[in-house]
């Protein structure tokens, strides 16, 4: 029987939530790695029982974990992330140049076809790859060596590479996003990269349409239509229909177009979800109401989804990696909050239920559909 496994990373450990295909009742396991920050954990599409987790603390730095049994047991793997060559410098908050320094792994993206191959997006922004199941990591330095690399400047959360999307049919084509450098695409497996930020506008920049410097919060794709990308930017929700070559604003009637996560319906590339946040100053939902907004028209026309979500006194946040979809029918949508709740909808967002209420602040949610 089909089922869903949610991989939840929090400020104080990892949790694995499982349900059958009805998604009515959930089993909660964890915390794994109690007391450690788990920025992200993710499963291999080629072998769903192969999981990778990014574990860190300010005291002890980065640790990487791997599971071969769906999260029941874990094995510590390689944690050496060394920038290729002479790392050089990037721009610091005050405009001076600052050495590249590894801080942590923000996002893990396993290959679609090989369980032993996994990509890691790190802070300070770089892309690493392991082809031996996480034992060793090598930088794909063509990204950081881009001619604009020295102009990249950290966002408030650091200079983090937080989004990695692998094209479903062409593994040579990948998309990444960096706060606050922008979005980039490779068509040669990571050797060379080009910025894909045409159409983005950032009022915070002296040249608001410059090639890099945009604070992209998240990009999402439905694999059935890989040239269509959606983006939640610092401000503005954007869409591209040409693989990132150009972007158009689709914020439409959203109450705020600031936010962090964005997700696409598993069966309909026109249906997209965001969680509007009041502003970059307050980082809470507008009007104290937790509302997911759904567009069925590729953006611009949005409807508030509120059934089962608290509609008063809500002052929390939903982080960029904390929203996911399953591939069951009807599609499931999930998100976790800084208040420790994980909400689930088994009907594409019409109705929501809190699976758990009181986890540590949620950093990431991934959904695995199990057959």
């Amino acid at each position: 029987m089909s089922g869903v496994r949610l991989l939840v990373g929090t400020r104080k450990g990892a949790f694995v939530l499982t349900s059958d295909g009805t998604r009515d009742d959930w089993n909660v396991e964890g915390p794994f790695f109690a007391g450690w920050e788990i920025y992200h954990l993710n499963g291999s599409p080629a072998d769903p029982d192969r999981l990778y987790a990014s574990q860190s603390t300010g005291w002890h730095g980065q640790v990487m974990q791997r599971s071969d049994d769906g999260g029941k047991t874990w094995e510590t793997v390689g944690n050496e992330f060394t920038y290729d060559g002479v790392p050089g410098t990037h721009q610091w908050y005050d405009g001076t140049q600052h050495p590249w320094e590894f801080a942590r792994v923000w996002h893990l993206e396993p290959s679609r076809t090989d369980p032993d191959t996994v990509f890691a997006g790190v802070e300070d922004a770089a892309l690493f790859r392991s082809t031996d199941g996480g034992k060793s990591w090598q930088e794909l330095s063509g990204l950081r060596d881009h001619e604009t690399g020295s102009e990249w400047q950290p966002g408030a959360g650091g200079l983090c590479l937080h989004t990695i999307i692998i094209h479903p049919d062409d593994p040579q084509r990948m998309f990444v996003a960096i706060s606050a450098a922008g979005a980039f695409r490779t068509d040669d497996g990571g050797e060379t990269w080009q910025p894909i930020n045409k159409g983005l506008r950032s009022r915070e920049l002296p040249d608001e349409e410059r090639e890099v410097g945009h604070c992209v919060h998240r990009i999402a794709m439905n694999p059935s239509r890989p040239d269509r990308l959606y983006m939640q930017k610092h401000w503005h929700v954007m869409r591209s229909d040409d693989g990132g070559d150009s972007w158009q604003k689709v914020s439409g009637n959203l109450p705020s177009d600031f936010g962090f996560p964005i997700a696409v319906h598993p069966h309909d590339a026109d249906t997209v979800y965001v969680v509007p946040i009041k502003s970059d100053s307050e980082h809470v939902p507008p009007d104290g109401k937790l509302r997911v907004y759904r567009s069925k028209t590729g953006g611009n026309e949005w409807e508030a989804l509120t059934k089962g979500l608290p509609q008063e006194h809500v002052y929390l946040n939903v982080l960029r990696d904390a929203m996911a979809v399953d591939t069951l029918d009807p599609g499931g949508v999930y998100f976790g909050t800084s208040g420790g709740q994980v909400y689930a909808s088994a009907d594409s967002g019409d109705n929501w239920t809190a699976i758990v209420h009181d986890l540590p602040p949620v950093l990431s949610v991934e959904a695995q559909t199990l057959s």
């Binding site: 603390t57 300010g58 005291w59 002890h60 730095g61 640790v63 944690n79 060394t82």
Partner: protein, 98 residues
Amino acid sequence: MIRVILPHHLRTLAKVDGEVSLEPQTQPTQRTVLDALEAEYPVLRGTIRDHRTAKRRDFIRFFACGRDITLDSADEPLPDEIASGKEPFRVVGAMAGG
């Protein structure tokens, strides 16, 4: 025998309870003790000091015989009580927070 006491998170990571015992060394130093510790428990590599430079992580400190020896040279001989196993070499996670 050289005794090492690790902070909670590193004991969990190394899957050890209580103290760690290392082979005796004739003239142990911070560096030789940490080298031996990481050889015995490879999962600790990178969690106390940097992989490449061996620079101590900022929030880690070392104590021996009740004294903070963090800023001593990594190659300075440790007290005889550490070499004999009478006293443990302590790896401490700095207190930080409110």
